[in-house]
């Protein structure tokens, strides 16, 4: 099958989803991100790699954290960055996605970072642009959020380097979560032997086992002896109809408390992609506790996005 993310030499050209990417490319991104993590700790947190390039963040759907970390990542690579909240600009005047993109290409954009509520939006743009332009999916509908998946596995690898020996639990609204999908693909591709999903039946896709995960409906059984607990946000804004009785009821069954976390290994780490609903999927004492690596995830997000952008920019065909 022709993979739209890779060029004819098998090099990464766009980052659209983790699904279909070989382990070698994931490892290259994570290893490169290690070097960028060091850059972020220096006096001058910048390298000249993308000097003269223009990166356009087009966010058809709001996201403060993802947009900010992409912006900082591009700036620390010395690129020029423009961020468009398209929901509040031309799109509301009726311009199509491709018209927006073509206008930015006319302004000599070199890279697009795209977030859209519609699955496949980034693929659509990637098919449209010329060979010297790169597209990064910053979240499309329920489908994929590859840089979040990558920064999550980067965080896990930093705290638990023995990836082939880990038991990881992903807890919560898997059905509506593009993050969960990207995490599952990243973890299985990197050889994590046991990935569990813990959620009520109503928040799991019907074919979830096909992704290579073990399914649990009960936190007490599912968290037993895990090394990593990855919480998902309860996607209120994607929840149409009554999949859940109430937020309080959900917290009682699937909210991560100190008591439930005690079932995991004593050195287990707790992750959350943000933004958190405290008291809904995670208790404040856990979110702020000493097993939480939620803020390091944000820090590493910049290094991982720098790695992705520089690898893509480096794989540009000569015009």
């Amino acid at each position: 099958m022709n993979n739209p993310q890779l060029d004819k030499n098998g090099q990464l050209k766009h980052l659209l989803s983790i699904e279909g990417l070989p382990r070698a490319i994931l490892t290259q991104i994570l290893d490169t991100a290690e070097s960028f993590a060091g850059v972020s700790e220096r006096e001058v947190k910048k390298v000249p790699l993308l000097r003269g390039k223009t990166v356009c963040n087009i966010f058809f759907e709001n996201s403060t954290r993802t947009r900010t970390t992409f912006e900082l990542a591009a700036k620390r690579l010395s690129a020029d960055v423009v961020s468009l909240n398209v929901g509040t600009s031309s799109q509301s005047k009726g311009e199509t996605i491709l018209d927006t993109v073509d206008n930015l290409i006319a302004m000599h954009a070199d890279m697009f970072v795209v977030r859209h509520a519609q699955s496949g939006a980034a693929h659509f743009i990637a098919r449209h642009v010329g060979p010297h332009i790169h597209v990064i999916n910053a979240g499309d509908g329920r489908h994929s959020h590859p840089t979040q998946g990558l920064l999550d596995v980067f965080t896990i690898r930093r705290y638990k380097p023995e990836m082939h020996n880990l038991r990881v639990a992903i807890v919560g609204d898997v059905l509506h979560s593009r993050v969960a999908r990207s995490e599952i693909h990243a973890l299985t591709t990197l050889g994590v032997p046991e990935v569990r999903v813990i959620a009520p039946k109503t928040l799991l896709p019907t074919d979830v086992e096909k992704l290579g995960v073990q399914v649990y409906h009960d936190m007490h059984a599912g968290l037993k002896d895990v090394d990593v607990v990855m919480m998902l946000r309860l996607q209120n804004e994607r929840m149409s109809g009554a999949l859940l009785p109430s937020a309080q009821e959900y917290f009682k069954c699937y909210g991560l408390t100190q008591e439930k976390l005690a079932l995991a290994k004593p050195d287990a780490i707790v992750m959350h992609p943000g933004p958190m609903n405290r008291g809904v999927e995670i208790d404040s004492s856990v979110a702020d506790g000493n097993q939480s690596v939620i803020l390091p995830q944000v820090t590493y997000g910049i290094a991982v996005r720098m790695a992705v952008m520089s690898i893509l920019a480096g794989n540009t065909e000569a015009a």
Binding site: Q11, Q28, D31, T32, E34, S35, A37, G38, V39, R42, E43, V44, K46, V47, P48, L49, S310, I311, A313, G314, N315, T316, A318
Partner: protein, 165 residues
């Protein structure tokens, strides 16, 4: 072609560097050959001399032509560059582009008082106004040839020449 013994050249470098040492001197090796050399020079010159490594991949001038190197090692500068005297170590000095990139990277850590460039071998062919203060030896090579430092399982250095003369 008979290549000089890299271990002897290393000892020669250490002797030449020793008179330059000051209280603020630090060793920085350029990944990978220069980093190996700096690692070996440190015990010869004094264990209390700070040791760092640079991977100049983010500062190369050919990024837009060849992209990012697939295997990058994190740079590690565990001392304050501001005001320090840096002995910058590379294995083979050729075009001078690597030394240029390494200096740019060092300045993103701080403003050194002085940088002294040291190379095991100067093979000529400079494309930048770069000069090494200390070199182990000078060998004139054809542009088609590639000279690099190799390290065996026991940690012993050897120069390796590949490509047609």
């Amino acid at each position: 072609m008979h290549l000089p013994d890299a271990e002897q050249l290393l000892a020669k470098l250490a002797e030449a560097i020793r008179p330059l040492l000051t209280g603020s001197t630090a060793l920085v090796g350029i990944h990978s050959g220069g980093a190996w050399l700096a690692e070996r020079l440190q015990p010869l010159l004094g264990e209390d001399i700070p040791l760092g490594t640079l991977d100049i991949s983010f500062y190369r001038d050919d990024f837009s032509r060849i992209g990012l190197h697939p295997q990058i090692k994190p740079s590690d500068i565990p001392f304050d560059v501001e005001g320090s005297h840096i002995i910058l170590v590379d294995d083979v000095l050729y075009t001078g582009r690597t030394a240029r990139a390494a200096m740019n990277e060092l300045f993103d850590y701080g403003r050194p008082a002085k940088i002294t460039l040291v190379a095991l071998v100067d093979r000529g062919g400079r494309e930048m106004p770069i000069h090494a203060e200390i070199v182990g030896t000078t060998i004139a090579l054809d542009p088609k040839q590639n000279l690099e430092l190799a390290r065996d399982a026991a940690g012993k250095f050897q120069l390796k020449l590949t490509g047609a003369a």
